[in-house]
Symmetry: D2
Subunit: 247 residues, 4 copies
Amino acid sequence: MTSRLITIVAGVGGGTGASIARKFSAKYPVVLLARKPENYESIAADINASGGKAIGISADVSDAASLQRAVEAIKQEFGADVGAAAAIFNASGGFMRKPFLDVSPDVFQSSLNVSAMGGILFSQSVLPLLLKGVELKSEHPPSLIFTGATASVKSSAQMSSFSTGKWALRALSQSLAREFGPQGVHVAHAVIDGVIDTPRTKEWLKDMPAEAKLSADGIANDYWWLHTQPKTNFTWEIDLRPAVEKW
Amino acid sequence: MTSRLITIVAGVGGGTGASIARKFSAKYPVVLLARKPENYESIAADINASGGKAIGISADVSDAASLQRAVEAIKQEFGADVGAAAAIFNASGGFMRKPFLDVSPDVFQSSLNVSAMGGILFSQSVLPLLLKGVELKSEHPPSLIFTGATASVKSSAQMSSFSTGKWALRALSQSLAREFGPQGVHVAHAVIDGVIDTPRTKEWLKDMPAEAKLSADGIANDYWWLHTQPKTNFTWEIDLRPAVEKW
Amino acid sequence: MTSRLITIVAGVGGGTGASIARKFSAKYPVVLLARKPENYESIAADINASGGKAIGISADVSDAASLQRAVEAIKQEFGADVGAAAAIFNASGGFMRKPFLDVSPDVFQSSLNVSAMGGILFSQSVLPLLLKGVELKSEHPPSLIFTGATASVKSSAQMSSFSTGKWALRALSQSLAREFGPQGVHVAHAVIDGVIDTPRTKEWLKDMPAEAKLSADGIANDYWWLHTQPKTNFTWEIDLRPAVEKW
Amino acid sequence: MTSRLITIVAGVGGGTGASIARKFSAKYPVVLLARKPENYESIAADINASGGKAIGISADVSDAASLQRAVEAIKQEFGADVGAAAAIFNASGGFMRKPFLDVSPDVFQSSLNVSAMGGILFSQSVLPLLLKGVELKSEHPPSLIFTGATASVKSSAQMSSFSTGKWALRALSQSLAREFGPQGVHVAHAVIDGVIDTPRTKEWLKDMPAEAKLSADGIANDYWWLHTQPKTNFTWEIDLRPAVEKW
């Protein structure tokens, strides 16, 4: 027999996706999506070694066919009637902080491809599984959670190659929350308003206290909290930031 | 010996304040503030009967002297060095939904007195206790939480006697979050976007499913979640609403 | 015979109110409201000397009886059937930028008295005159315009004695826009996001180019533009700021 | 000798682009961009017949090479040192209001191609001309204006194929306003919050008064007003809606 309710996490290259996957693996088998196996292999191994279950699938969220193959692989693994208890979109397109006229159209396009189209295509791929999770009477309402950033709510100078995609993603989240909430799926958006403490940011903010960075495990806890909210009390958006940050 | 970390809840007349008090009483002695003893007596009795500790104090949040007497009564009960782990402002001024020119200035004034000045005076009264909670190394960052409403973010026609006070309260929350976060106090605002299921609203929305109202206990869970966030991951604002509501 | 359509400006002490009064005096007799005669006398004299018509009335916008007397004085002067083509609320309560716990409750109260209750009482006093303006077929839709500030949309640390009142005023404007727009009155709010160039701010930002301050006459032009919008194209809110300001 | 300051309008198929072009043609030669000649030919003819000057250029705003050819054609016509006094982006991608899972990825992609990438590519094409307009000491600060919609600020159920692109465009506008304001270019965004009265919408809202639709000429007046604001008083965003609309 196969597990019937899973969690899918897209974008597990950095520390946040890994923390989220580990957190949700305590209750659900977890599917890790990333473009390259090196981005999910060690996380999957970790989870499997700790008594959870995780599989990685190479997929490009900006490519509908690639996502379709991922969904087929999921059904192969977990059964055709598999449902999703949670799906988390944690991917972001690359961007450049520099004068607008110095940024190549390619940079804007690839940022939109991941943050905007990627969010759309991922949602179209996982919502049928989340609706199946409703049917399967998932203990907690099936949840679709999007990772946003400061640039999801503020569009600073020289940051439009990031903010255009992130604003589009936030619009997607709000529209889906309105459409799928009444169908039992909890759609939420998290505005991560600061630097996350990951291997990549180890050298950042070195003159600040350790608490100046967001904890990736803390973010995972917050996503888990969103997931456990009952149908009477859905949160559509949370912001998260370190206490010491200056505004 | 007296308990050194308490929770203070202002506005416990309806079901929400009672749920919050019960939730926080699992860890902290709770002080209930309301204008009239009948608004806190049965909740306090309940909590005390279930193995928690609660005291009620008659206080008017729109009156600085009344709040000062309440703080003195708290110190009398719990010791002069008492700190607060949490303080929740759940009071609202009365208002009238009718044409603007038909609303008496008194209604606007009394709404502002509670929602705006009440929030300010309550914060000035409890922040020294919350800062004392930081000093006492409260396990979770001491938290100041404000209850908002749909009218905190949208100001509908004929609703200005409610929204003016609620917008002022949200402004207060954002300013305090910026000032006191770096000092270790977590300030947060909750936009309660729907009807809460309480004895008073029993007859409302009767043609809708039971899940069409917010759960008061669910709100209390969410406030507790806010309270347990670590200093690296503070949320300043959450919205809460039933999945089935139409927008 | 008396003029039947007038403009009323509350808060004419600084340079902005004076600029607004002068601008609107090109078409309408202007009533200037301020607490002290020295705040309106020279502006009124100026306008009367330049071929316009202006009268000043001592009034306290936070006092309903004082505003009622002002309305009676207006009817005495312009006839009982006078209508208003425009009413501009340009008053602000005093505030203090300092740590929250060091600000006296009186400061918060007096700020709310002017910015929040003042806006409410002023609106209740002038809306009957503006509705009369609709009846009198004012060429441009009668307009009620509120002057806001950066603190109307952002509530910074240590600024809550200003922002609480300003957020309340913005809530008022949005509610009135929804209620009175369909009745033919154009309600709008202006977010003045910077320092206005007035005698009082002459020494500010001296290390910046002259264009770093907002022009008071420019603001008056923008209010006039709002006033001339037809019923098909109402703007509820504009922001105004100098091009060179840094964000 | 050639004209040295022009206005460029992208998206002139509906009534709004035509109204804007006519308004700005009173002062500047106007360049009309649309994919198909039938979308600009009659407007250009109209303007040229009324004593103004207009040329149409076939261009696809979602195609960088097509826009580059348009800029070359502009320089051919008006001289290599031509500057722009105004550039208006009035194009929108197609969209479908239907359940999210029933909308083809192609619809989302083509909406993002025009509203998001189109806005980006248009801005990269015209900003050098607008900066040249600053150098040429344009009487009014050169202006880059984006046409938004209700869906630029609210993302309703089943509307994400429109809102994702429109939110991205608004993000672009805010970022460019911050970057190019200090360089003398006025960037602004207009939230058109209602149905515009054009030939295409003639049969809409027939049970409502004539004033229930926005006037396209009114929008053009408002854009002209934005264009004439001095550097001390820039508005970044206006909303526009009919007085009678219900909210």
